[in-house]
């Protein structure tokens, strides 16, 4: 059996089906899939770390812009109502729906910002080839755990649906925050595609020792 001669550190168990694989150094820009269930186990992309960090910083700044600037403005019959992302969150702010306001705030602003700051915190020193900060592992694990709860992209689709619903009723002006938010979504997708958990854990390990 070759299994016994392979050191534990060189084995990868597929996170979804538990099939064991022997890890080997991959050539650049190659993906390794699980033999059993086919999910991507490892991607090797040179300079991915620096790109992830820069995209995360960009998304963070754009997110701040997205919550500060006006999002949408509605005009009808001489009346005007300007809405920010914060107003959309506070739409549920009456009585029974208050917990939903908190949940929506987390889904579209707080959790995306938490993920971005955790990534910046964990990967920043790695890019500068320094020792990882304290809690860098916890921060990266948190960023990955929160991934399904970060719903900025779903919010943008929701806004599009809402715009079409209102379009017949009144004139809607799209503010700078809308474009900033759309930017956050595109950059987050690009960034998440670059993240290879295995490579980042390896890098964190190497930088610690």
């Amino acid at each position: 059996m070759t299994m016994h001669t392979t050191p534990l550190d060189d084995l990868i168990a597929c996170p979804q089906c538990d099939t064991l694989h022997v890890a080997s150094a991959l050539p650049d820009n190659v993906r390794a899939h699980c033999q059993q269930c086919g999910i991507v186990l490892v991607t090797s992309q040179p300079a991915a770390m620096a790109r992830i960090l820069s995209l995360a910083l960009t998304a963070f700044i754009m997110m701040i812009a997205a919550v500060s600037f006006p999002f949408l403005t509605l005009d009808a019959g001489g009346l005007r109502n300007a809405t920010s992302v914060i107003d959309a969150v506070l739409a549920f702010n009456d009585g029974y729906a208050f917990p939903l306001a908190v949940a929506v705030a987390f889904f579209i602003v707080v959790i995306p910002l938490m993920r971005l700051s955790a990534l910046i915190y964990a990967l920043g020193p790695l890019v500068r080839e320094q020792k990882p900060r304290r809690g860098a592992r916890k921060a990266f694990a948190l960023a990955e755990r929160l991934r399904p709860w970060s719903m900025a992209e779903i919010f943008v689709v929701g806004v599009t649906v809402a715009l079409i619903k209102v379009a017949g009723l009144a004139a809607v002006t799209i503010g700078p925050a809308f474009w900033a938010f759309a930017g956050v979504v595109v950059i987050t997708v690009l960034k998440d595609q670059l993240i290879c958990r295995y490579s980042i854990w390896e890098a964190l390990d190497k930088a610690t020792n």
């Binding site: 979804q16 809405t83 969150v89 739409a91 209102v166």
Partner: protein, 181 residues
């Protein structure tokens, strides 16, 4: 061996979550229960100069169809009806097949699990639509839109089924074949 904690990420080690299916069923049942009032009660309360109206999830979709916005109506219908119901069916099927230690269709079942995990969050679209509309359409007497109670129960239903899908240990799908060998 005998390690309790992952030396890399410091997470707790566990070969299989033995209570996985219990959690899956618990969250799923909570999700189905919350989905019922989400369809009965109004999602949006609209009042204009001439009338006050309430619309449910299905009512909103029908309204969009009548407006001729076919594409958007389809998106909302998919997100609020097809995805949640499809998810209930898929999770029930996955949980039962694991309980019966089924050895068939592992690849298909794994695919189904991946789809459920990926697509479930998109049901939230309708909640965000309600949030934006209620924030935007506040024109005193001309027209105001406010969220209805269904928005809360719908959001709860989506959150519960997401937790249900996350509690499902996908490795269980492959275990039957391994232990029967």
């Amino acid at each position: 061996m005998g390690a309790q904690v992952c030396k890399r990420c410091e997470g707790r080690l566990q070969s299989r979550d033995t209570e996985s299916l219990q959690k899956v069923w618990a969250w799923l049942i909570a999700g189905i229960i919350a989905y019922i009032p989400a369809n009965i009660y109004p999602m949006l309360l609209t009042s204009t100069l001439v009338e006050r109206s309430e619309s449910t999830i299905i009512g909103g979709v029908v309204e969009l169809f009548e407006h001729g916005s076919w594409g958007i109506a389809t998106i909302v219908f998919a997100a609020s009806v097809m995805i949640p119901v499809g998810k209930f069916v898929a999770i029930i099927y996955l949980a039962i097949s694991v309980q019966r230690r089924s050895n068939a269709n592992q690849h298909e079942r794994h695919k189904a699990y991946e789809v459920v995990e990926f697509i479930g969050r998109w049901s939230m679209i309708d909640v965000f639509v309600v949030a934006i509309l209620s924030a935007l359409v506040q024109l005193d007497t001309i027209a105001t839109v406010n969220p209805g109670i269904a928005a809360v129960s719908f959001a709860l239903s989506v959150i519960f089924t997401m937790l249900s899908a996350q509690a499902f240990d996908s490795r269980l799908i492959w275990d039957a074949a391994r232990t029967q060998e």
